[in-house]
C-alpha cells in the first residue's frame, strides 16, 4: 500500500484555536473534556502550563495556539485529550481549544518538503484548507514522529 493510499479518507477531528481551525487524526484523540482544575508545580518546560487529573491520570496541558496562531488562547472552552505514541508507549497531552470540535471524514493530502514540521498533512473541508497536526513535532518531549498521522512516513524522510 502506498503512502498516498494510506492517507486517503481518514477520520479527523477539527479543532478551533482562536479564529483558525486545525485537524488531528481521530485515532490520536482520546476525549474532549471541559476545563478542570489545573495543577502547577516547578518545572522547566515552558510549553507546559500545568497538569490536569483525568481518570486518575496526570495529563500535561500544552497550549499550542501561540505556536500555531501567534496568540495565546484567551478562553479555553475544552481540553482535547490527545494520545502520542512512540516506541510502543502512549502518553496523553491536553490541548486547550477555544470552540467545539467536529469529527469529519476527509481526504488527506501529504505534506510537502516545504511545509513546517508540525504539518502532517492537509485536508480540505467546507472550502477551507486545514493543517493536520503532527503532535510529535508540535508538543515537547518526544522526538518528532514521522508523519504524525498513524506514523505514515513523510516523503522528505526518504529523500
Amino acid at each position: 500500500m502506498s503512502w498516498t493510499e494510506q492517507l486517503d479518507a481518514r477520520s479527523c477531528v477539527l479543532l478551533r484555536l482562536g479564529d483558525r481551525r486545525f485537524a488531528l487524526a481521530a485515532d490520536q484523540v482520546s476525549e474532549l473534556v471541559a476545563p478542570s482544575r489545573m495543577f502547577r508545580f516547578a518545572h522547566r518546560t515552558p510549553e507546559i502550563d500545568g497538569v490536569i487529573l483525568r481518570r486518575g491520570r496526570v495529563v500535561p496541558v500544552c497550549d499550542v495556539a501561540e505556536k500555531l496562531t501567534g496568540k495565546r488562547l484567551t478562553s479555553r472552552r475544552y481540553y482535547l485529550i490527545s494520545k502520542r505514541r512512540q516506541q510502543g508507549t502512549t502518553d496523553w497531552i491536553a490541548l486547550p481549544v477555544s470552540g467545539d470540535c467536529e469529527l469529519i471524514q476527509a481526504d488527506l493530502t501529504a505534506a510537502g518538503p516545504s511545509d513546517l514540521p508540525h504539518v502532517a498533512a492537509w485536508l480540505s473541508h467546507a472550502g477551507e484548507v486545514i493543517e493536520v497536526l503532527n503532535l510529535g513535532a508540535l508538543t515537547p518531549g518526544i522526538e518528532p514522529m514521522e508523519g504524525g498521522v498513524d506514523r505514515a512516513p513523510l516523503p522528505e524522510a526518504h529523500a
Binding site: 495543577f39 508545580f41 518545572h43 522547566r44 495529563v59 496523553w92 515537547p140 518531549g141 518526544i142
Partner: protein, 177 residues
C-alpha cells in the same frame, strides 16, 4: 466450613513520604531518604559560608566528619521565589542537605506516576514522578537530583580552597611549658 478466597487482593505497596513547603509550593520526599531534620539555627556553629558563582543554590557547607555536606536552597533549586527557610533535611546517601520552609505533614503514597515525556528538561532529574493526594498533584523529589557530579566537584574545589585559607589565617596557639 470456611473456604479460602481464590484470589487474594495483592497488598498495596505504600511509601512513607514527607510533604514539605518551599516558596508556597508543596513537594514530597520519601521519608526513608531523610536522615535528619534540623532547624536552620543549627547551621550557625556547624557551617561555613561558601560562594561558588556557578552553583548559587548552595551558600553553606555543613561540616560533618571527613566530608562536607552542601546545603541546597530548595526554592533556588526549583527556580522559585526566595522564601524564609526554617528547616534543613539532611539527606541519606548524598552530600546534600535541603533548605526548606517547613514540613506540611507526613503521609503515605500508594502510587507514583512517571513524569510525562512532555516534561523534557531538568524536572526529569528533579523528580521521581508525581503522586496524587487528596485530589492534588504533588511532585515527588529525587534526592539524588539536587547536585550534579560536576557541581559537587566545583563545590569541593571551592570548599577546599576556603578551608585552606581559613586554616592559614587562624592564629597559631602557643604552647607554654
Amino acid at each position: 466450613m470456611r473456604f479460602e478466597p481464590v484470589h487474594k487482593t495483592p497488598a498495596v505497596r505504600t511509601e512513607q513520604i514527607i510533604l514539605f513547603r518551599s516558596s508556597n509550593q508543596i513537594f514530597a520526599i520519601s521519608s526513608s531518604s531523610v536522615q535528619e531534620v534540623r532547624s536552620v539555627d543549627s547551621l550557625a556553629g556547624a557551617s561555613v559560608e561558601i560562594e561558588e558563582p556557578s552553583v548559587p543554590k548552595v551558600r553553606h557547607l555543613l561540616k560533618r566528619g571527613e566530608r562536607g555536606v552542601y546545603v541546597v536552597n530548595a526554592a533556588t533549586h526549583f527556580g522559585l521565589r526566595p522564601s524564609p527557610a526554617a528547616l534543613i533535611f539532611l539527606l541519606r546517601k548524598t552530600r546534600v542537605a535541603l533548605l526548606i520552609d517547613g514540613i506540611e505533614k507526613m503521609t503515605t503514597m500508594t502510587r507514583l506516576q512517571a513524569l510525562s515525556p512532555a516534561f523534557c528538561h531538568e524536572e526529569r532529574v528533579w523528580y521521581r514522578g508525581l503522586t496524587v493526594l487528596d485530589q492534588n498533584v504533588i511532585p515527588v523529589v529525587n534526592p539524588q537530583g539536587f547536585l550534579t557530579e560536576q557541581e559537587l566537584l566545583q563545590l569541593d574545589a571551592t570548599a577546599g580552597a576556603l578551608l585552606e585559607a581559613q586554616a592559614a589565617s587562624a592564629p597559631e596557639v602557643e604552647l607554654t611549658p
